[in-house]
């Protein structure tokens, strides 16, 4: 079973080699003519003002939190979906309750305005 994943490891290594070799070839070929103006961050030609690592909209965190909840839900749903035929109606009703609770949570987040962008 674990030997099946030999290719996964090999693809991982070769993916890194693929990117690294492209960088090395380009490093050998490219010109080097750096100057301070060229190396300043691009802000449409204006002089750079301040740092870019600043506070940002709290909404991104809300979305991330809701995502975690629903991603775990999807993780529960996957094995359930595969063997639903064997498990029968009891499992279906159980999952129905589970999904109903989550839909309730989704409606709550909706009413609280988590999905409205300002």
């Amino acid at each position: 079973m674990i030997a099946d994943y030999g290719y996964v490891g090999l693809f991982f290594l070769f993916g890194i080699v693929f990117v690294a070799s492209a960088f090395i070839v380009s490093w050998l070929l490219r010109p080097r003519a750096a100057n301070p103006v060229k190396n300043s961050p691009y802000e449409c030609g204006e002089a750079v003002k301040g740092n870019s690592w600043i506070q940002f909209n709290v909404h991104y965190y809300l979305i991330a939190l809701i995502f975690v909840i629903f991603d775990v839900e999807v993780l529960f749903l996957t094995p359930w979906a595969i063997i639903l035929r064997e498990l029968g109606h009891v499992a279906y009703v159980e999952m129905l309750v589970f999904i109903a609770i989550l839909i309730f949570g989704l409606i709550y987040a909706w009413k609280k305005g988590a999905f409205d962008w300002q």
Binding site: G15, I16, F18, P41, Y60, M95, I103
Partner: protein, 320 residues
């Protein structure tokens, strides 16, 4: 155990797949330019080779010889590793894509779950690029991209789970075998799942009309504004490889994969995959970009409820 000869075979297989990925990405870049040009009644690239078919090769040479600009104040490690984090997962997804009856690198028993898990790690690379660049446009692009990809991940996964109800397996080859009688798209609830999948997959790969992370008119080029030369090329290769992957998944899960009459399996698989890619290009050059405030709402208020209700109905169908 792993012998030398089997190792050589494995290395050859990986090299062949990498060759295919590069060739496919180059072809798609040329094709996208041609499709966009003809939709806008232009010709597109015409000079390099017949109808510009060699244009991507010229582009590749140009990008190889470009000066590499490292802006001051970048977060060195994060900035340099970002192209790796974007490209390597895109390449790794090809382990489990079934090109034909026996033409699959390894039919993993986790199949579709593996592909989804690997490809969604590409978001790290995009966010690293946005964060590491020390550029306001890049940071905004990276943030938007992260929020967008995780939001659309939910309807995408639920629509895939709807397929799993009918296939009863995660293995890509078994999903294709389960479609021996009919293509899954002909099933009413999987028909709905197909559209949810295509819409969220378009958002997953940051393509128009969901290309807000790189909205040219407001964010220059989004998360890869500061990248030049080969690093920029890597983001491009990853983007087009991911586009191939999501279309290949759509072809396998909903359109019967390599199944089809007369023609051999791999030909059918490529016809279906490239048809879906063509539709994605068509959509890109037809619809305007959605607004950022509409974007999140659409994923959570429209697609997620539709896919959940669809899943419940499909489960009822399975049991009745």
């Amino acid at each position: 155990m792993v012998t030398l000869s089997s190792l050589i075979v494995m290395v050859l297989v990986v090299s062949a797949v990498l060759g295919f990925i590069s060739a496919s990405a180059m072809f798609l870049i040329w094709w996208e330019r041609k499709v966009s040009a003809h939709i806008q009644t232009r010709f597109g690239p015409m000079r390099v080779g017949w109808h510009g078919v060699l244009q991507p090769i010229a582009d590749a040479i140009k990008l190889l010889c470009k000066e590499d600009i490292v802006p001051v104040g970048v977060d060195k490690w994060v900035w340099w590793l970002a192209p790796f984090f974007v490209t390597v997962p895109a390449v790794m997804a090809f382990v489990a894509i079934p090109f034909g009856k026996n033409l699959i690198v390894q039919d993993l028993n986790l199949g579709i779950l593996y592909i989804i898990a690997i490809t969604s790690t590409g978001i790290f690379g995009i966010f690293m690029a946005g964060w590491g660049s020390n550029n306001k446009y890049s940071l905004l692009g990276g943030m938007r991209s992260a929020a967008q990809i995780i939001s659309y991940e939910i309807p995408l996964l639920i629509s895939i789970i709807t397929v799993l109800l009918f296939s009863g397996s995660l293995s890509m080859q078994k999903i294709v075998t389960a479609q021996a009688k009919y293509w899954f798209i002909l099933n009413p609830s999987l028909f709905v799942a197909f559209f949810v999948y295509i819409i969220s997959a378009t958002a997953e790969v940051n393509r128009a009309p969901f290309d807000l992370p790189e909205a040219e008119s407001e964010l220059v080029a989004g998360f890869h504004t500061e990248y030049s030369g080969m690093k920029f090329a890597m983001f491009f290769i990853a983007e087009y490889t991911n586009m191939f992957t999501i279309s290949a998944i759509a072809a396998t899960l909903f359109l019967g994969g390599w199944r089809g009459p007369l023609l051999p399996g791999p030909v059918w698989f490529l016809i279906k995959t490239y048809t879906i890619i063509f539709v994605l290009m068509w959509v890109r050059w037809t619809f305007p970009r959605v607004r950022v405030d509409q974007l999140m709402g659409f994923a959570w208020k429209v697609l997620t409820p539709i896919s959940l209700v669809n899943l419940i109905i499909a489960g009822w169908f399975i049991l009745k």
